[in-house]
C-alpha cells in the first residue's frame, strides 16, 4: 500500500525517530511504514491519522490490484 507518511512527517519537521516516539513504535517500524514494506494495523493507522491530522484515505492509498476471487 502506498502512503504519504514520509511527506507528511517531513512537512512537520519530524525525524523518523521523533515520529516513532510519538507513535510509541521503533524507528525501524516508521521506516518500514514509509517505504511500504509494512502495512500498519488499523489501531496504528488511526494513531497515525490522529497524529498527522489527516484522514486515513489522505494518508494511505491502496495498490491497484484486482480484487480477490469471490468464492460464490
Amino acid at each position: 500500500m502506498k502512503n504519504r507518511i514520509r511527506e507528511l512527517r517531513a512537512a512537520r519537521g519530524w525525524t523518523q525517530a521523533a515520529l516513532a516516539d510519538l507513535l510509541d513504535v521503533s524507528r525501524q517500524t516508521v521506516n518500514a511504514l514509509e517505504t511500504g514494506r509494512y502495512d500498519p494495523s488499523l489501531p496504528l493507522a488511526f494513531r497515525l491519522s490522529r497524529l498527522l491530522g489527516e484522514p486515513l484515505e489522505q494518508i494511505f492509498e491502496p495498490d491497484e490490484e484486482p480484487a480477490p476471487h469471490s468464492s460464490r
Binding site: R6, R9, A10, G13, W14, T15, Q16, A17, A18, A20, D21, L23, D24, V25, S26, R27, Q28, T29, A32, L33, R37, Y38, P40, S41, L44
Partner: protein
C-alpha cells in the same frame, strides 16, 4: 529536504526498550553461565548421588529467566518488531525441530552422540539470531 530528518539512529523509545531488554537478559544469561560452570565443576554429574539430577537441572532456572526476558522484550515491542521477531523465532523453531528429528533418527539407528542435544540447541539459537539479523536489515 528529508535527508536530515531521515538519520538512522535509534529513537529514545528504541533506546529505552533496548535498555530494559538488557536489564532482563544480561543477569539471566550471566546466571546461566555461572550455573553451568558450577554444575559441571561441583555438581558431581558423573557420580552416583541421586542429587546429581537436581544439580543437572539447576541451569534450567536461569534459562527460564532468559525466556522471560525474551517474552517481556516481545511485549514491549511494537507490532512490526513483534512480527519480525516471531518470524525469526519460527525459523529457529523449525531448525531445532529438524535437528531433533535428525538426532532422533540417528539414535534409532544406534548412533548415540552424547552432545547431540547441545548441537540442536546451538543450531536453533544460531538460526534464530541469524534470521532476526536478516529480517531486521530488510
Amino acid at each position: 529536504m528529508t535527508s536530515k530528518l531521515d538519520t538512522a539512529g535509534p529513537s529514545r523509545g528504541d533506546r529505552a526498550r533496548a535498555r530494559a531488554y538488557l536489564l532482563d537478559f544480561t543477569p539471566a544469561t550471566a546466571g546461566y553461565v555461572v550455573c553451568i560452570v558450577a554444575v559441571v565443576r561441583w555438581g558431581g554429574l558423573d557420580g552416583d548421588s541421586p542429587w546429581r539430577f537436581a544439580w543437572a537441572l539447576l541451569p534450567v532456572v536461569p534459562v527460564l529467566a532468559v525466556v522471560r526476558a525474551v517474552v517481556r522484550g516481545l511485549r514491549r515491542s511494537d507490532e512490526y518488531a513483534q512480527l519480525l521477531q516471531v518470524r525469526a523465532l519460527a525459523v529457529g523453531f523449525a531448525v531445532a525441530m529438524v535437528g531433533c528429528v535428525v538426532v532422533g533418527m540417528l539414535a534409532l539407528a544406534g548412533l548415540h552422540l552424547t552432545p547431540a542435544p547441545w548441537f540442536v540447541v546451538g543450531a536453533g539459537m544460531l538460526s534464530w539470531a541469524v534470521a532476526a539479523a536478516v529480517t531486521a536489515r530488510r
